[in-house]
Structure formats: C-alpha cells, structure tokens
Amino acid sequence: MTVLETRPAPETPETPATPSAPAAIEVRDLTMSYGDRSVLTGVTFEVRRGEVFCLLGPNGAGKTTTVEILEGFRRRSGGTVRVLGMDPGAQPAVLRERLGIVLQECGFPRQAKVAELIGMWRDYYPSPRPVDELLSVVELHSHRDVQVRKLSGGQRRRLDLALALAGDPDLVFLDEPTTGFDPESRRRCWAAIENLRALGKTIVLTTHYLDEAERLADRLALLRDGEIRVCGPVREVARQAGVPTTITFTYPQRIIPALPAPGCLSLRVEDGVATCRVKNAATALRELFTWASACRLGDLEDLSVTHPTLEDAYLQLVSGGAGQ
C-alpha cells in the first residue's frame, strides 16, 4: 500500500489543532422530515478535525440522510449544520473544493478509462493530487488504461475513492465504502482509509459493519430511528449504552450452603460455570474475592472479565433495549 505523501501547507497555513480550533463538522438539533414522515429528530454531534468519525446504525436509521445533508445534497428541515465552517445548505463551491465524497451507489461514464477519468476529476479542483499517486493509493496502477465498464465491483469502489481524493480534500465522506467487498478488498480499503487518517484528513464514515467501525473509527455515533442513541469514543460507547461487563469462573465443587455468594453479584450457575453481569467490574471483583476467601474457595478457576463489545452495545440499542 503506497502512502500518500504529506504536502507542504497551501497558501493559507492551517493552524495547528488547538483546543479552540473549530470542529470540522458541527451538527445541532438537526431535523429532517419528508411530508409527515420524520426521518431525523434532533440529531446533535460534532466531528473533530483529523479524526475518523463513524455513523453507525441499521438500514433506515437516517445515516445516509444525515450525510447527504452534510454534503449539501439535501435541504434540512431544521437545526444548525456547519461543515468546515460553512453551511452546506447554501451549496458553496468553496466547500466542494475541500470535500471528497464517496456516495453509496454512483455510476461512472462507462466508456471512460481509469486514468482519464481521474485526470478529468483533477481538472475540477484547484490543487489536485498527482494521478500516479492516486492510482497507487487505490492500487489501480495496472488498470490505468482500462475502461470503467470492464472493472470489477471492488475496483470500481476503489476508483470511487480515488475520485473523491483527486482534489486533495480536507474532509472525506465515505458512505458505506466496503459494502459488497470480499475480505481482501475490504482490508485494502481499510488500509487506504487509515492512510488518509495518517495524513490528518477528517473522515466521516457510515457503515453497518461493526468490525469496520471498531477497526477504523476514533469516535462514533449510533443512530436509530432518526436520533443518536449514543456518541463517543469507540471504547466508551458500550459503557455509555449501559451494557454490563461479564465475569465468569468455574463454580467451585464445595460451597458451604451457609455462605452463598453475595446477592449483589446475582450469580447464575449453568453447567458448572458461574456468570455475573455487572455495571462496575472492579467493585464486583472485590466482592467476589472477599467472598471466595471467606469461604476458603482459593483462587477462582478460569476467572475471566469480558468487557462489552461494540456489538453488544449495538445489539442492545438497536435490537432490544429501546428506551434504555
């Protein structure tokens, strides 16, 4: 995987990220409705400069609507939106010069050749990246003279990315960039995205793949039914969602009936394995060890502490635990 080279700053030197540096994207109380149907009901989040921000959610949650409002393709019904300090609703051309957009499903002029198309796209922007560099990033060098209609699905998706990067954007939107990819293509695409992050680009990614979000995102927001259920760094999202930590160990053979496990642990025993699900793992472990030593149970065998994963949080918020 070729790495894009960092370039010297353009004529307006970017100020280094300071605490007061404005966010790349600010969204406040964003609402969107089509007629009577409300699609977004008060969405608020912020994307910091230089981070990979992931909008996660099931189909129909409002991910693409949100992103299309940020890209300037849809007019919002209400709320405030600032993208790189500008209102995308006004469709300023200066904003489009600084955005790279990979749309969800988007065709190409079929007879155009790969390098030719990238060349055309470079013409549209004031300070484009070199063609060879773009071809390398998406690994399409050997296909530069192939007509677009002859490319495979994965190759087209990578060409999508190359076109989005042609103008050397500050902010890149990727709407489900790896849907329909084979594992190898996904890994290549992920590497390209990580490569972009290393360059300091801000990336907004929508996906319904949890592993993709877990691997790439610095922070994420989980959308469901047009509102944000939880938003924050990937590691914290599960805790925010209120998903318990799971502690398991092999239930000792000899338990003195007079000394049952503390009730606050709500221990459940199944097939000789004791499981408790707790909010605060540290407190629970302390209780557990105090009880174990009081009962002279020795070390609890096969003790394991499993933190909630993004998947747990997702399933809790999306499938079951509405209204948590």
């Binding site: 890209e71 600032r82 790189l84 065709g107 079929r110 796209w121 549209y124 103008g167």
Partner: protein
C-alpha cells in the same frame, strides 16, 4: 456558529476563462468517449445515413409533382434535419437520462465544477456530433444523388443548422427531465419525434397532409427546420417567416423548461 476555518472566507474568483477552459475539456472528453463506444457512434450515424440511401434510391432522380424540383433537393436537406433531431434531441436526451439514472450527474455535483461549465461541455459535444452527422448526410447526398447546396443558400443552411441544433438540444434537455428512468427515455423520444417527422414529410418529399393537419405540424419544430434547410438547396419553396420564429419559440420554451426542470439526481 460564526467561526470559520482559515482560508474559507476569502472569496475565490471564478474567472470566465476557467469556466470556458473546463467546458472545452469536458466537451473533448465527451467526444472522446462518444467515438470510443463504436456501436453507439455507428448507429447514431447509421440511422440518418441508411435512411438517406434507402429512401433516396427510390425517390432520387424524379421530380416533385407539378414542379421542376428534383426530389433529392428536398429529400437530402430533410434527412439533414432528421440527423439534427436524432443527434441533438434523441441522443442528448437519452444520454442525460442515463447519466442521471446511473448517478453520474450526482457524482459530478460532488465536485466544484460549475454547472454551466459541465453542461456547456456536454452541449458543445452534442453540437459537434450534430455537425458531423449533418456533414456526413450532406456529403453522401452529394456523392450518391448529386444534391449540392446552392451558394446563395449557404446562409439558410448554416443558420438553420445552428438554430435547429439549439432548438432540439434544448428540447433534448427537457426530454431528459421527462424520462423517469433511463429505460423510458428512448421510447419517449421515439414516440415524440417519429410521428412528427413522418407528418412533416421528412421521409417522402411528395408527402402531403390535409390542410388542418399541416397547420398543426407547422407549429412543431421538425418541418420548419426541414424547410429552412431545403431553402439551402433549392429556392423553389419560400421560407415563411414563421419557420425560424417557430424554431426560436421552441428553443426559448425548451431552455426555460430545462432550467426549471433540470435535476442532478
């Protein structure tokens, strides 16, 4: 919420030269891809050329009823008008409907290219194709049937082609907005121009229709264009003033409808 990133406030100049340069490059790119898709280019040319040769071989050499006008002097310019309709109206309309359906127009919209530059490039490319088709039709009409434009009629011929390309190009833009999908663009195109072309006598120099129908057909742009181009070959039929007026009126209506209805997605 008034915070603005560095460099974002400086108003960029968008000089006319940049738009013109982008339009020219877009037009050249469109032409390159048009000629690369051999079957598309071939059949765009084949329709007017094949009809010219097929129908011409049965009617050329004769005279129009009750006149001394050779049939090919009417028939060849009529086929040139037909070429304008096919290239500017049918091709442009179906092409844009396909580009919209495939999401290519939406993708273009993600870039900072000014809408005017992109559409000028596409329209310029259409104009070039139209010119090539009418030139091929005219050349073949001369080689096969000896139909040569008269020197005094060059003005009518050039003016008619320019006005016709503008008129049917703007209607092609409207056609692309009427078609809900790429598949429906072609049937809509054929259903709209083919009956009109037949009623306008494009395929038969001796074709005549009842007076009331003739009045109606005269209000649509196909026959006026054919009559102006015929004037470039033979002066026998006078060009009523209403022919260019009808074309101009349709052009204005087409431009208004296209501006009002055009969508990128």
């Amino acid at each position: 919420m008034t915070a603005v990133l560095p460099g974002a406030t400086a108003p960029r100049r968008r000089p006319v030269t940049r738009v013109a340069r982008l339009a020219v490059r877009q037009g050249l790119a469109e032409q390159r891809t048009f000629w690369r898709s051999a079957e598309y280019a071939l059949f765009t040319f084949a329709l007017p050329v094949a009809l010219l040769l097929l129908i011409g071989s049965t009617t050329a050499g004769g005279f129009l009823p009750h006149t001394h006008v050779k049939a090919q002097m009417i028939f060849v310019p009529s086929m040139m008008a037909f070429g304008v309709v096919v290239a500017a109206y049918v091709n442009l309309g179906t092409k844009l409907a396909t580009l919209r359906h495939d999401g290519v127009l939406k993708r273009i919209r993600t870039t900072p290219i000014p809408a005017g530059a992109y559409l000028s490039g596409v329209l310029g490319s259409t104009a070039a194709t139209t010119a090539a088709i009418t030139a091929a039709t005219g050349a073949l009409g001369w080689l096969a049937f000896g139909a040569v434009p008269r020197v005094a009629g060059i003005g009518e011929l050039a003016g008619g082609l320019a006005l016709g390309a503008a008129c049917f190009g703007s209607l092609g833009l409207v056609l692309s907005t009427l078609a809900r999908s790429a598949e429906s663009a072609s049937p809509i195109a054929n259903a709209s121009y083919l009956p009109l072309a037949i009623m306008s006598g494009i395929f038969d120099p001796a074709f005549s229709v009842p007076h009331w129908l003739s009045v109606i057909v005269g209000l649509f742009p196909v026959r006026p264009l054919a009559q102006i181009l015929q004037q470039g070959y033979t002066p026998v039929q006078h060009v009523p003033l209403e022919d260019p007026v009808v074309l101009a009126a349709w052009t204005v209506a087409g431009v208004f409808l296209a501006v009002w209805r055009f969508r990128w997605t």
